[in-house]
Symmetry: C2
Amino acid sequence: MQNIKCTIAYDGSTFSGSQIQPQARTVQGEVEKVLKKMHKDKPIRIYPSGRTDAGVHALGQVFHFKTDLTIPETGWHKALQSLLPRDIQIKQVRFVEDTFHARFSALDKEYRYIVLNTEEPDLFRRNFTYHSAFTYDIEKMQAACKVLEGEHDFTSFASTKSTVTGDKIRTIYEISCHRINKEVRFSVRGSGFLQHMVRIIVGTLLDIGCGNIPADELTHILEAKDREKAGITIPPEGLYLWEVNYEKETDNT
Amino acid sequence: MQNIKCTIAYDGSTFSGSQIQPQARTVQGEVEKVLKKMHKDKPIRIYPSGRTDAGVHALGQVFHFKTDLTIPETGWHKALQSLLPRDIQIKQVRFVEDTFHARFSALDKEYRYIVLNTEEPDLFRRNFTYHSAFTYDIEKMQAACKVLEGEHDFTSFASTKSTVTGDKIRTIYEISCHRINKEVRFSVRGSGFLQHMVRIIVGTLLDIGCGNIPADELTHILEAKDREKAGITIPPEGLYLWEVNYEKETDNT
């Protein structure tokens, strides 16, 4: 059996999330449908690095699966791309060691969030950015980013509906915020993320940036371990799973 | 009865064209559904400046309709925007003279076409640009634009399925082509357009720009009055109805 690592991009606006569900169009569902067809109707399970919610996009989602087909890497790339719908794009296919696991082998993940900061919303980017006409203090938000970096209990920044068992301690290696033309962009890289964690972090940072939440409240919000204390869960359309990082070795058989 | 001129933008990728059709989601259908609701179930017909095909976008489509409701301009704007789906945006609502007609009062129309000229397609712009990795000679295309300007019989640049009765003589006031970063953009302003005319013009200009059609063929293509002689009908996703122009007077009651 060959273990295969596959990196994909997708337009989340057209899916009911990434994880397979009955009676809903999902990224995993579409990929497994194609793999089943390629394996003469034999169901093939894929294992993604993690799930993304409905409306959330990906530029570098990773999954792995095992196959007994003997097709070269480039053949897999072409076959998958030609059979998958237009809203899923194959970025890379790599043969990897049998022990590689898209979720458990991941070192860290990077998410980005794009705010379109203009007076009027842009009809053609409504599914790909979050629109806000507020004025944001970028330097204030950059200082707040630093407070969140490091290892913390992120209970205040997790959905109360989260089904995660175990603690809510996660490590954020880096958060940054900057303005590029009409956009305010956030980048968050961490060891792992709780449900809605990036969206609540960005929502809270924006609340700080426009003065709704005082900057010095952030430490108290973290310490409170109470979802009520943090800012809103910002909508999914501005969020992108940007990259999942692994040890370099796993890229080779 | 008040005559109302309404300017709208829409994302054409989510509609089966602009013109009302049974059992299909259309721009006109969505607008008339909202107006019917506002008029206590009385059907209200709207008259657009012209139709756009499935997948074609608009930044400045115009329609008019007559109403016996007494709502101010700003009230119409807010009511329509709040009742219409997210892929239609109200740009302007104006009370106009009774004689104003969105189609017959129009002086000219401008269409634009956006080609994303990069090696790799962009997943998030697939419905809003036409992707091509070819190398285009912009100066050659600019020279070809000049040949098409003026009054011509555009039979070679019209769909053979066109249901237009009468001649196919139209006037193009201006065609331009330029590169902005990774995009090649076309702008075409004219008195009126035949079915697929802009898409066939841009398809032919691109064929000239990448060397598929010799530049000096263009005059012969026009003279031939034969759809077979021109280039391909380029896909709808890069096309935008940009603006419809009227006499300034029609903007006032």
